[in-house]
């Protein structure tokens, strides 16, 4: 993995000024993604993951406002790009599979003509060439090319999601953002497609920002990952290391809360049952009830990430009782 980042997000802050709800959706978030790196972003529902992705894609619209920070793509200031520059950059340099993928296809065009359009406008292919490239891409995501002639409503939820994955891959972008790309896929197809994406990623060397709530999938696929909570990053490290020994209580809860696939049925308590009263956008930490005693003196505001070991970051207050890590 190369050390020069393809993407650098520094102290990003995004606020929504709705009529009725003011939300600081992303609060002083920093991370970077290396060339050829798969970077995972996990976190609870509503914590700001899609907002981060939309900020990178420059797709945030009123009432959203980037009120602080920088985003650099290969050194270029992404937030300063305008007009034509921005258009060329989107899709060709950075492509995104939206969380709303199932709903983001044009309902009155067949899958085939939507795919053909991408190749004819961006790559100048002939319709015939474009069609055969489209068929190839559909096969890649396990869809029978006869579906080129189907309209979106004629496909199942998972097939639509796969068609969108195929389209995002079409132009071989340098950075691929996947926002919950597999929510409608069964695990067999999911594994197959994720393996295809990893293979392509190894071949072509693109980078990936992978957003999912599925920690197991994330750990299997990502090199490094970060966990987000209430608009802030609370932990960032090598994916397998974090999985093996999570440091932040919230990360721990994400790892441990799975219902098991073997053994007796045990009743689990979701955080929403008791600990967390709100939707997790308060900006302050709604997690403190579950904190271990040595962090109980925290104010409830999530602190900045601190590097506690090389490459290992966690948002923790200096501890009163120090074990292993320096305060």
């Amino acid at each position: 993995m190369s050390t020069t980042p393809i993407l650098e997000v520094t102290n990003l802050r995004v606020e929504y000024h709705g009529d009725n709800r003011q939300v600081v959706a992303v609060n002083d978030v920093s991370f970077s993604i290396g060339e050829g790196e798969i970077f995972g972003l996990a976190g609870e529902s509503g914590c700001g993951k899609s907002t981060v992705a939309n900020a990178i894609m420059r797709l945030l619209k009123d009432p959203a406002e980037i009120t602080g920070g920088q985003i650099r793509f290969r050194g270029r200031d992404l937030l300063a790009m305008r007009g034509e520059e921005l258009r060329r950059f989107r899709w060709k340099e950075i492509a995104m599979i939206f969380q709303s993928a199932m709903n983001s296809l044009n309902p009155v065009m067949t899958i085939g003509s939507q795919m053909v359009d991408i190749f004819t406008t961006h790559e100048g292919l002939s319709v015939k060439q474009a069609r055969s490239r489209s068929a190839e891409l559909l096969r890649l995501v396990s869809i029978d090319p006869v579906r080129l002639d189907s309209y979106p409503h004629q496909l199942s939820g998972g097939m639509r999601q796969r068609a969108v994955i195929a389209m995002a891959l079409a132009l071989e972008p340098s950075l691929l953002i996947m926002d919950e790309p597999t929510t409608a896929l069964d695990v067999v197809v999911q594994q197959e497609i994720m393996a295809q994406i990893s293979d392509l990623q190894r071949q072509l060397g693109f980078s990936v920002l992978f957003i999912t709530h599925d920690m197991s999938l994330m750990v299997e696929l990502s090199h490094r990952m970060a966990v987000m909570h209430s608009g802030r990053l609370v932990e960032m490290a090598d994916a397998e290391l974090m999985f093996a020994s999570p440091l932040h209580p919230y990360t721990l809860s994400l790892m441990n809360a799975f219902p098991p696939l073997t053994g007796p049925r045990v009743r689990l308590t979701g955080l929403s049952d008791s600990v967390r009263a709100t939707d997790g956008t308060s900006g302050s930490c709604s997690f403190h009830v579950a904190c271990p005693p040595d962090r109980a003196n925290c104010s409830g505001n999530i602190p900045d990430l601190r590097e506690v070991q090389p490459g290992r970051f966690v948002a923790e207050h200096p501890r009163t009782s120090i074990e292993g890590t320096a305060a």
């Binding site: 929504y16 709705g18 009529d19 009725n20 709800r21 609870e44 529902s45 509503g46 899609s50 969380q99 709303s100 199932m102 709903n103 983001s104 006869v146 002639d149 189907s150 004629q154 496909l155 199942s156 939820g157 998972g158 097939m159 796969r162 919950e180 929510t183 409608a184 069964d186 695990v187 067999v188 197809v189 999911q190 594994q191 197959e192 393996a195 709530h213 599925d214 920690m215 197991s216 999938l217 750990v219 299997e220 994400l254 809360a257 799975f258 219902p259 098991p260 696939l261 073997t262 007796p264 049925r265 009743r267 689990l268 308590t269 979701g270 955080l271 929403s272 049952d273 967390r276 939707d279």
Partner: protein
Amino acid sequence: MTTDTGQRRPSTAPIDDVSVRVRGLTKDFPLGGLFSRRSMRAVDNVDFDIPRGTIVALVGESGSGKSTVARALARLERPTAGSIVVGGRDVLKTEKSAASRRYRGTVQMVFQDPFGSLNPAHRVEHFLERPLRIHGKARSRQEVRRRSAELMRTVGLTEDMLDSYPHELSGGQRQRVSIARALAVDPEIILADEPTSMLDVSVRIGILNLMARLRDERGISMLFITHDLASARYVADTTLVMFAGALVEGGESLELMKNPSHPYTQLLLSAVPDPARTVRYDPHQRALLRRAVLAPTACPWQGPDCSATVPVRHTIGPDHWVRCHLYAPQVSAAANPLLTDSDAQPDLDSAPDLDVAPAPTRKATR
């Protein structure tokens, strides 16, 4: 949590104990453009019951017809054939053209796509207010607001979000609004199509516990479509497995996941992501295997080909059945080495690297 689903076989249960009875449900869709004559069978002769006050999970392949089954039950799709009996009434006969209000008050659906199913022009409150008023659950302005706020809290959202538009909500928040909307009319039956797919695990457990509570305290029956087998096992009394338009296996959830028997069920369970997996799967092998299972003549389990004769249900446990010729009682030992030699591997070039033993673990009974 109760693990009891009742030992009743679906086909023999008295109709009074059954909320939904589906028989022979079949749906054909035209394939291709407007003038195409080709069609495809999305749902093929599906039979199942949802016993009163139970949760039945429907899992299976993407594109196998799960949403179509739910949409047919919600009367959004007209089946090509089959019957749907709800509350003892054969609804396709008694309410021929469209579902009555009473039906819509009884059966509610949570749609798979939270981005496509909430009208962007309305605030969240509208989605709750409408059903509350239409079905007479709340009348005055204040009562509507109070009930709506309560519904929001039930799904882990805050009251101030009632005034938000769908585009102002995150994916998981919209999903929970859809759940709240279905709960608003106090239905007896909920058809939930991937209701928790965009929720992180802690919020998801909260929703699953809510589903269990609705079942246990209010006797609500549910069809729960999910790709998350752990969720199905956690909350569903019975799990049904769908593959290529047909139900291929069904049983009490714990039993089914302990002894997955149909080739597809085994494949499915073996693919559950697990970073702690010791034997790393080879995805290409799995892809081959999946294609092989799809093509009956190449089925790696080497039973008599199921494209030649459609397998019938074979009972393999007190509350567990499977549709695969391997479990047919008349299969001779010679024709099926797997039944006599449990160490034998299916004769496939890319031998399945399954964490779940590919061979049936026991002989078919009966």
